[in-house]
């Protein structure tokens, strides 16, 4: 059964790959997932190693949701919206940084405007212009983040749809139920910065620390 599933899927994937000139992109995910469904159904069962692999992917996504969710360690209600929030936070902080930089540049330009013309003034103005140009980064960062969020969302939706079609609910199979603190591993402690709205202040930390 396993070998038959593999041959059917391989053949379908080769077909898709040829149609897209050897380069698969995000729009092909639909076709790929459909191929997996067909291959598994034609293969005759749900216990193929292929389906097992898809479950593994789904669990990884679920773990990622948990890791990115600041207020729900179970991740049962976490969604890729949480991942989106984290990425939005990156875009926000780069925007803040860019604006701070440009505030300072505009101050410099304003001061320069009051000085008599000189080579030094021209040179400084040129450098300030370069700083403004460099602030293009914020726009591009934001656009790339949006792309990542959309890609991630698409993958998650397709995986969930695939598993649902086989009656598999990964929330009930997830191994990562909320653990008591004495069972946390080193990895559990690595959560990265919290979102601004959730992040405790130094005062909060001091209060916790000092009891």
């Amino acid at each position: 059964m396993k070998h038959r599933v593999g041959k059917v899927l391989l053949s379908r994937l080769e077909e898709i790959s040829q149609q897209s000139g050897g380069q698969l992109n995000i729009q092909d995910i639909d076709a790929i997932i459909e191929s997996v469904e067909v291959a598994i159904k034609e293969g005759g069962g749900q216990d193929s190693s292929l389906l097992s692999g898809v479950k593994d992917i789904a669990n990884e996504i679920r773990l990622l949701k948990q890791n990115l969710s600041t207020d729900n360690k179970n991740g049962n209600n976490a969604s890729l919206g949480a991942a989106g929030l984290e990425l939005d936070a990156i875009a926000q902080s780069t925007e803040t940084a860019a604006n701070t930089i440009m505030d300072a540049c505009e101050q410099i330009q304003s001061q320069l405007g009051q000085l008599p013309h000189s080579d030094a003034k021209d040179a400084i103005q040129q450098q300030v212009t370069q700083i403004f140009e460099a602030c293009n980064f914020q726009d591009l960062t934001g656009q790339r983040i949006t792309k990542v969020i959309r890609t991630f969302d698409t993958v998650d939706k397709h995986i969930s749809r695939l598993l649902k079609s086989f009656g598999i609910d990964i929330s009930s199979t997830s191994p990562e139920a909320h653990k008591p603190l004495d069972q946390w591993t080193n990895e559990d402690f690595k959560n990265g910065p919290q979102l601004s709205k959730d992040a405790p202040s130094q005062d909060d930390i001091d209060k916790l620390f000092n009891g």
């Binding site: 212009t129 140009e133 602030c135 293009n136």
Partner: protein, 127 residues
């Protein structure tokens, strides 16, 4: 021939940082009458209220993209002749071709520098 920098310029982008950058660069060139819009729909409203001599627009915006804005600008008698420069991260040949077909006057890819913006504006306005 010097550019007429006293004209009204409309800049359109959903990223406020980018609006700020373009405004600053335009000020340096001498364009001080600069209005902003954060998407095509808002830009069309501005175009109904004032006469502009130049539009500089991003492509990827919601609810109305820069391409849709361009198409509407070119389809409207009052605005069809306004020079329109697309400033966008979209760099595929298909994008450039599509924008050209829609009537864009010039196309700048992000990230860009002041000289590029100045040069493209000069090319479009004949400066």
């Amino acid at each position: 021939m010097a550019m007429n920098t006293s004209m009204n310029v409309l800049i359109v982008d959903d990223y406020k940082t980018m609006l700020r950058i373009i405004r600053n660069l335009l000020n340096q060139i001498g364009f001080n009458n600069v209005d902003e819009a954060t998407d095509g729909t808002a830009a069309l409203k501005k175009l109904e209220e004032k006469q502009y001599g130049l539009i500089i627009s991003d492509w990827n915006m919601e609810p109305m993209s820069g391409l849709e804005l361009l198409q509407k600008v070119r389809a409207t008698e009052a605005t069809k002749a306004i020079p329109f420069i697309m400033v966008t991260a979209e760099s595929k040949p298909e994008n450039v071709v599509k924008a050209k077909e829609a009537g864009v006057n010039n196309y700048i890819v992000k990230p860009f520098n002041a000289d590029t913006l100045r040069g493209k504006i000069a090319a479009v306005l004949g400066g």
